[in-house]
Symmetry: C2
């Protein structure tokens, strides 16, 4: 019996992935960029093991304590590719144990709510692929592994790296150049912080895959976004990261969130992921930025109503000063309880009815930029 | 003393006007199409008079019982142009009384809430321009008058006609070819009905003029909408009206509403006019259409959360069957109180939590397609 345990992070895109040009290979219609979030606060832990003992009769996945199917084409493609690499190694080197033929057991837990728009599938597939690759001792770098994880869940490919990560869409039909690369590691710009405002922990109304293909097939504005808006924005965002220009990075992040939700709304029938609570959060951030005469914070929304607010550590007193005013009573402030926040100077608090603006958010997660998948000593047992 | 009284209708665009290429002349970035609504339910009544008596010392406007300013550039341009035409007539024909020099008194009332996204300024400027033109006996057709009303409020130009109306954007710099024309009169397709769901009667958060210029200046998708999406849609919508093809007319109307709100959302900072109540109405209409296997109703949203639902009279039992289920307890059903509505066959009522879906709408206005401005015997007195 062989076993390895790993952890993998969540990533939240600042330049959004929305639309597949090939939905079997999970090839996107545009390149995207994300920030990997700290595993101190959000992570998937996965123990993968394989054995030829009787208790390992078939491949099994236990997710958050429940036996889940591995029958989906997506899971099968990940497992199949990893096994193929291993069996090729075994064929070349007769001294290697032939574990590629053994059943796998994957035990995985998230320390955050699943499928609530918090990119749990990204962390989950990244952990599974990274874990099996370590178990099999595959000589593949993270970019190679990202191509396998991509076939499980598109955005999972970006969770193979820490820091700032790009998913290069590639141009080949077989997808071999559609992979994640690191734009900059955590050490390049360690002061990037993220505050997640959890608006709803219920399951998504419109799942991402169905939603994005509805947009691809019906939005009149979508193709223009993909061909004309995203490519120059990608380069600008990459530069803003390299130059640590938060003002620009924030503007591009907010603009791209808006653009993504705009093409969702332009779908037929329209898709709405942001709700009235999301919009109130947009207004809070806009007014904070206006009051300071610069972008101290950037909102971004994925395929759900939750907000992720990026900011720099040096401005934490400003951003958390506002968030604490409205959401300070909610779970998630433990690490900051001792700090006495106050509203930033010039913040136009009179514009906001506090009763209304405090509504709809259920918890807060205060985190920051973080590292990619890594091995861990923690071993998860079958439930 | 000379006096004329007129009434003018509201119009609700099915192909939206959003964006000015010249904000002094109110020249739009795209042509638009609207349905004129029946004055039985929504109208502005305006009495215009002029006199050289002492009580008429300056031009005055009384709107809904309150003295309002006529100082705005927009009002001044309308009054100035009408006076210029009159004074040219007077110069040519010495027998005409020189009333162009006399102060004007304009007394105007709406029978619906002002500035709640119900196009009150369109009806108001149309009534004022049409009324003064009648007072002055100007030999100008409605299309000529539409160019004057356009300078007061862009969409007012479409309220000069009944039925289905296009505002041709024109190409001339001086705006002399930017005017309303009638696509078809009421008699062509009299069975078009409209149900207005009034979501909020408060003033708009983002006024249209500021909102549209923010979109023009900041949305990456806007120019594509204007240049590539609207022109073919305009032709298709015009054809759908001429052919009385409701299926197509409804699809184009919903798509264009989505597209307009998408470019609002794509603005920086984003503009949101639809709220969670608006989105629930979209879902009701989508599910109604799906359940019937055809478009029996089309939603459209202007620069506010109110919904306008267009449908054909022959499908009234289906559309009002659904609306009555959720909004039957609200004001606005008087004319239909005697009818026993029931939910349409196959409508998936289980998808809707009635408590939630009934929220947020304050009243209903059941109306239909109607005629353009006309003279009336009703005389409004100065309050």
């Amino acid at each position: 019996m062989y076993s390895v345990s790993v952890t993998a992070p969540v990533n939240i895109a600042t330049l959004k992935y929305w639309g597949k040009r090939d939905s079997v290979l999970n090839l996107p219609t545009n390149s995207s960029i994300s920030v990997t979030l700290s595993q101190d606060d959000l992570k998937t832990t996965t123990t993968v093991s394989c054995s030829d003992s009787e208790s390992y009769s078939v491949d099994q996945l236990y997710l958050n304590g429940k036996l889940e199917s591995l029958e989906s084409l997506r899971s099968q493609k990940c497992l199949g590719e990893l096994r193929k690499y291993r069996s090729e190694m075994e064929a070349k080197d007769g001294s290697l144990p032939r574990i590629s033929e053994w059943p796998l057991r994957i035990v995985s837990v998230n320390n955050f709510p699943t499928a609530a728009g918090l990119a749990s599938s990204a962390a989950g597939y990244a952990a599974m692929v990274y874990g099996i690759a370590r178990l099999y001792r595959l000589p593949l770098d993270r970019s190679e592994l990202s191509k396998i994880a991509r076939q499980g869940s598109g955005s999972a490919c970006r969770s193979l790296y820490g820091g700032f990560v790009a998913w290069e869409m590639g141009s080949k039909k077989d997808g071999t150049d559609s992979r994640a690369v690191q734009i900059a590691d955590v050490g390049h710009w360690p002061g990037i912080r993220a505050a997640i405002l959890v608006v709803s922990a219920s399951k998504k109304e419109v799942p991402s895959t169905g939603g994005m293909q509805l947009t691809v097939g019906s939005s009149d504005l979508f193709e223009y976004r993909v061909k004309n808006v995203v490519p120059p924005r990608y380069k600008e965002m990459e530069q803003s990261i390299i130059k640590k220009n938060f003002e620009k990075f924030a503007e591009l992040t907010m603009r791209d969130s808006n653009s993504f939700h705009a093409v969702c709304l332009d779908s037929y029938p329209p898709i709405f992921y942001m709700n009235d609570t999301s919009k109130r959060i947009v207004k809070l951030i806009n007014e904070l930025n206006k009051s300071q005469g610069r972008n101290v914070a950037a909102y971004t929304f994925d395929a759900g109503p939750n907000a992720v607010i990026y900011y720099e550590e040096k401005d934490e007193h400003l951003v958390l000063g506002v968030l604490n005013e409205f959401f300070g009573h909610l779970p998630g402030w433990d690490k900051k309880r001792s700090i006495n926040y106050s509203l930033p100077d010039r913040f136009p608090i009179d514009l906001f009815n506090k009763d209304i603006f405090s509504q709809g958010v259920s918890s807060v997660i205060l985190t920051g930029i973080g590292e990619g998948p890594k091995e861990t000593q923690e071993v998860l047992k079958m439930p």
